[in-house]
């Protein structure tokens, strides 16, 4: 380097370039992380195959995979937007990455946008993979109307928003280790009690009615209405997800600690 190398020439890159660059870094570190892949790819795929092939839970009338596929798609969104994001962000906070980024030209809104982009790309890969596996297992989704397809996409996006806000709330308030343990525990509990592989009707009395209000239940139920029953809309489930998103975002914005 010659003299004049460090002559100041400051300036922020255009926002879209910053977001793309940061989303790229998040995505690469995510896809390189073995534990994350176990959570987001291996576990949902294994559950789909296992519960479809073996009669472990009574999933009601019809092929088991027809019940399971929408639930596993919901679980995939949960694993990436909530569990993976909470753990990843919790450790970014712990390692001072968020603090350092706070002094970079990337604004917080851009950081959030980049994280969301990375999550959506991972989810897209998950949906493609799980759909292919489910189809191979004999999944025959209901004929999708245009409004049904739009509802499914809306459910996935709103589910992503709800889980992201809750994941960031956890990452921004708890210690990284507590987030790691807590996010995995929540994942397990929601896997069992969130209508993912066990129909909520199997739970006694009013319990199922309460569990329906969980975000993952709303997502899996809504996807099932559209993909299994061929419904054109899923307004109650969208409403549940919207409420979780609003509450989660407000709490995250209020309580998130950057360092």
């Amino acid at each position: 380097m010659s003299s004049g190398t460090f002559t100041p020439a400051p300036g922020a890159a255009p926002l879209p370039r910053m977001i793309a660059a940061h989303a790229g870094l998040e995505l690469r570190t995510l896809l390189r992380n073995g534990e994350q892949l176990l959570l987001t790819v291996v576990i949902p795929t294994l559950l789909l195959v296992l519960f479809s092939a073996v009669d472990i839970v009574d999933t009601g009338a019809g092929a088991r995979v027809d019940f399971l596929a929408p639930g596993i798609l919901a679980l995939a969104v949960l694993s990436t937007a909530f569990t993976g994001q909470a753990i990843g962000t919790g450790f970014e906070r712990r390692y001072g990455v968020l603090k350092r980024l706070g002094a970079s030209p990337l604004p917080r809104s851009g950081l959030l946008a980049a994280k969301t982009c990375a999550v959506l790309v991972v989810e897209l890969l998950q949906v493609v993979l799980l759909t292919v596996v489910a189809l191979a297992l004999g999944w025959s989704p209901a004929g999708l109307s245009a409004s049904g397809a739009a509802t499914a996409v809306l459910l996935l996006l709103l589910g992503t928003a709800a889980f992201s806000s809750l994941g960031l709330l956890m990452a921004g308030t708890l210690r990284a280790e507590a987030t790691l343990a807590g996010a995995n525990l929540v994942f397990l509990l929601l896997l069992v009690g969130g209508g993912v592989v066990v129909p909520l009707e199997r739970f006694p009395g009013g319990v199922g009615g309460v569990l329906e209000l969980l975000p993952v239940s709303a997502l899996s139920d809504g996807l099932r209405d559209v993909l299994q029953s061929g419904a054109g809309s899923a307004w109650p489930q969208l409403l549940v997800l919207a409420v979780w998103t609003v509450v989660g975002s407000a709490a995250a914005a209020r309580f998130f600690k950057w360092e």
Binding site: M1, S3, G4, T5, F6, T7, P8, A9, P10, G11, A12, A13, R17, M18, A21, H22, G24, L25, R28, T29, R32, N33, F91, E92, Y95, G96, V97, K99, R100, G102, A103, S104, P105, L106, P107, E259
Partner: protein, 320 residues
């Protein structure tokens, strides 16, 4: 009180100052970390913030970086408010935190490219990697870099956006002597290229080597400020040592010296004079030796170091 001769902090800042802090107070849960601190950094200069751990250096720097809101006082960085004008300031200011700040899983060069892509006119990453001696570990994840490599990467991350002003919080902590020299060279190049540098350190040699001005901090306040020369010259007296025949008549020597000088025979044949050691005094001593037939051996004039200054100011060791 000799301290009064030290150049004291000027609270009125020139408008073009890169950093202007006046009366900064910052408390954490009732404990006062910074207690009425003043700091002015001229553009294009290297300023060292010298003090022991817990003196308030990092809190002050992080307030300038916009991480903390002052409880009282005024903070201006490049003429702007670090919190209100954060969006405008961030691209112009390079930051090296005391530790961490990098994705543990991300590779060294990847982290640099990422930071470069957030800026409009970044440095060439490959050149920067070579300059900082990170060439062999560009593909290594941050967590597997040595402590010194992590430090250098953090420094590179502060520079890659071509900032006008950089805050380096203990840039050479944990570096081996070679890497430390390399970092010093880099700071000198930054200065030569017109970058304003504010660094914290608790190594006096670093401050003496690099800084145009030094602010000595203790207990959350600047207790002395000036160029390293001024700080070492002012205040207390200097020392002259020589060896010669044992049992010299120091009384007669003292009569030849200015008032206030002292002379002791520390051990047989080893003498120490203190006072205002200037060319005149040296001449007086050597001519006295000549008159008394003394071959003064190993004459040494000792300048004060910043460490001496710090000891006199606080009665404390600088290194924690």
């Amino acid at each position: 009180m000799p301290l009064l001769r030290l150049h004291r902090m000027q609270s009125s800042a020139a408008p073009e100052a890169a950093v202007d802090v006046a009366g900064l107070v910052k408390r954490y849960a009732g404990k006062t970390a910074v207690d009425g601190l003043d700091l002015t950094v001229a553009r294009g200069s290297v300023t060292a913030f010298l003090g022991p751990n817990g003196a308030g250096k990092t809190t002050t720097i992080e307030t300038c970086e916009g991480y903390r809101a002052p409880d009282a006082g005024r903070v201006r960085v490049l003429g702007l408010d670090p919190r209100q004008d954060a969006a405008a300031l961030r691209p112009r200011v390079g930051v090296m935190l005391q530790s961490g700040g990098v994705y543990p899983m991300a590779r060294a060069e990847e982290s640099l490219r990422h930071m470069a892509s957030l800026h409009a006119n970044p440095l060439d990453v490959a050149e920067l990697v070579a300059l900082l001696g990170l060439g062999t570990c560009g593909g290594t994840p941050y967590r597997r870099l040595s402590g010194g490599q992590q430090q250098r990467l953090a420094l590179a991350l502060a520079l890659v956006g071509r900032p006008e002003l950089v805050f380096l919080d203990e840039p050479t902590a944990g570096l081996d002597p070679q890497a430390r020299r390399a970092t010093w060279d880099l700071v000198r190049r930054l200065r030569a290229d017109g970058v304003t540098v504010v660094l914290t350190t608790h190594a006096m040699d670093e401050a003496e080597e690099l800084a145009d001005r030094v602010s000595v901090v203790d207990g959350g306040r600047v207790i002395a400020e000036g160029t390293p020369e001024e700080l070492c010259r002012g205040g207390a007296e200097n020392t002259l040592r020589f060896t010669g025949r044992p049992g010299l008549d120091l009384e007669s020597l003292l009569k030849a010296l200015p008032d206030g000088s002292t002379a002791v025979e520390l051990s047989p044949g080893s003498y120490r004079l203190t006072g205002t050691v200037d060319p005149q005094l040296l001449a007086t001593v050597t001519s006295w030796c000549a008159q008394n037939g003394v071959l003064a051996d190993r004459i040494a004039v000792e300048r004060r170091t910043l460490e001496d200054v710090f000891l006199e100011l606080t009665g404390k060791e600088l290194r924690p």
